[in-house]
């Protein structure tokens, strides 16, 4: 007991100064989804398997698809990633998804933004 007390006096704080210092998530942590429109073939298996109906695949042109992911509905189970035959979906470690405006929780991954990760929804999170 006394040893515990002494150790606690000398130890640095157990908590992190959160917004400044961020904790590293586990290697395969299930966070925000990422969609690669160029790989999607529009089979909609992900829509069928999603437990909450958070993902919607829309046809926007000849063999072109975009995905709308409702981050408020998503339970981050990653089943859509497993279901996808063409690996068009990927799970990322990104977890800071809080929003004040519910509309911002709906993220659309279209062709025009392809390649660049949708950083937009995350910016308001820390404020």
């Amino acid at each position: 007991m006394i040893m515990e007390v002494l150790r606690s006096i000398l130890k640095k704080p157990a908590t992190n100064l959160y917004p400044a210092e961020k904790l590293e998530m586990a290697e395969k942590y299930r966070g925000e989804l990422k969609f690669y429109p160029e790989r999607c073939i529009g089979c909609k298996l992900c829509m069928r398997d999603c437990p909450t109906g958070a993902i919607t695949i829309r046809k926007v042109g000849e063999k072109k698809f975009e995905a709308e992911i409702d981050l408020g509905k998503c339970i981050y189970c990653g089943q859509c990633v497993d279901s996808c035959l063409k690996k068009a979906l990927e799970i990322t470690k990104h977890i800071e998804l809080a929003q004040l405006d519910p509309k911002k929780l709906k993220v659309v991954f279209g062709h025009e933004q392809a390649g660049e990760s949708p950083e937009k929804p995350s910016q308001g999170a820390a404020e």
Partner: protein, 413 residues
């Protein structure tokens, strides 16, 4: 002295001592409890019905959310039933991974319980210690499965994630650390006089009563009933692993503490053995079926709190026809009633906490039956609303009138 007077006090549905909404109506004489009436239904979420409207794949994640603590228990029990109906041969390695996650979950659940029990008896140091150590196992679970709770490790016919040699090393390291800490808790539980005096003789459930009331899990084992599904009806890889069923003869809350702490030590041994014996090979069957042939199955699983029973009936489509869940708390709730009888009111929080209750797992819907015609009826939201207004009016309280007054004052400002 007020001892001669009998009175009833309601504890819950909303009460600071309860973690979840549940109604206990306690009949008291002085400080002594004469009887307890437990009414379930405040936490009902209709998961069983919702399962019938979703496919098997979606149900795994829904079933997993029955309980936040023993999510793997529910998911595995469900998936075992589905695999039994479809006659799927699950790869050996998948079974070992399921068992591993199951045991890690038991470790985290028992550590959590130990902290809650410490908190209920005012021993908050224990809460801080155990919950700090629980972080170790939570981190391991997040690393192995991808989430701290609701692991989502199961899929039909296997598991979704493999375990790498580096992860094996991490788990072993964590287990070593936890074992060292648990030895300290055993010391605390067996030598600390505060704990022994506070918990001994509280919430007694004799061996005969435990059998009669069908107690399960650590509650039954603390009364000397060696009842453990892992040994009685082995599932996953439990038939290949050595372990002892821990029992205790104290039959009270102290006994339940001892059983849980000792079970932690058993779990560490099992985790090491699983990692040593884990065979190489695939982790899931190729192309799991979406349609499950018609049939029915019952699956049992020893959750950290006790035996969890799932019943699944399929009809050859993508969706189950019926899913029924019997959570361990439902089996133990009658035992709580018995334990509380003739005890003091002050013992109530720890006695209820000692079965490690999960009321949201347990909750059932209530069908209203007409006393005369024996007709069951279902109320719509509007009917229920009208009924409640009528009920209050008959007792001289008009919610509509109060509502009007309230709006008037608000507008006046």
């Amino acid at each position: 002295m007020h001892n001669s007077k009998e009175f009833k006090i309601p504890i819950g549905p909303q009460h600071p001592a309860l973690k979840e909404p549940e109604s206990f109506s306690v009949a008291l004489r002085g400080e002594k409890i004469l009887g307890v009436d437990i009414r379930l239904g405040y936490n009902h979420r209709g998961i069983e019905k919702a399962c019938e409207e979703r496919s098997y794949v979606q149900d795994i994640y829904l079933i997993e959310r029955i309980c936040g603590i023993c999510s793997h228990a529910h998911a595995t029990a469900f998936i075992q039933a589905v695999e039994e109906i479809a006659h799927l041969a699950v790869p050996e390695r998948a079974l070992y991974i399921r068992t591993l996650v199951g045991e890690l979950e038991r470790v985290h659940s028992h550590l959590l319980w130990l902290g809650v029990a410490g908190h209920e008896i005012g021993f908050d140091t224990l809460l801080m210690y155990t919950w700090r150590d629980r972080e170790i196992v939570m981190d391991i679970l997040a690393d192995l499965t991808g989430n701290r709770v609701n692991y989502g490790i199961n899929s039909i016919g296997g598991v979704r994630r493999d375990i790498s040699p580096a992860q094996v090393k991490d788990v072993l390291k964590a287990v070593d650390k936890l074992e060292e800490r648990t030895k300290y808790y055993i010391e605390v539980a067996t030598e600390e006089t505060t704990i022994i005096k506070r918990l001994s003789g509280v919430g007694v459930l004799a061996y005969d009563d435990a059998i009669k009331l069908d107690a399960v899990g650590p509650t039954a084992r603390a009364s000397g009933v060696a009842r453990d599904v892992r040994r009685d009806d082995p599932y996953a890889a439990y038939d290949k692993i050595q372990f002892n069923v821990i029992t205790d003869t104290h039959s009270d809350v102290y006994g339940r503490t001892v059983v849980r702490v000792k079970e932690l030590m058993e779990s560490y041994g099992m985790i090491r053995e699983i990692l040593k014996k884990m065979p190489e090979g695939p982790i899931a069957i190729k192309a799991p079926p979406r349609r499950i042939p018609a049939g029915e199955a019952i699956s049992r699983y020893e959750a950290p709190r006790g035996e969890d029973v799932h019943y699944v009936k399929s009809n050859g489509t993508e969706k189950p026809e019926r899913v029924k869940v019997r959570a361990p708390t439902l089996a133990n709730v009658q035992a709580v009633k018995h334990m509380l009888k003739d005890r003091f009111l002050a013992d109530m929080p720890i006695v209820i906490a000692a079965i490690d209750p999960c009321f949201s797992c347990t909750d059932r819907s209530i069908a209203i039956e007409d006393g005369k015609s024996r007709k069951k009826n279902v109320m719509t939201w509007q009917e229920l609303h009208d009924y409640s207004i009528k009920w209050h009016r008959e007792r001289g309280f008009d919610p509509a009138e109060i509502n009007r007054k309230f709006h008037k004052t608000m507008e006046g400002k």
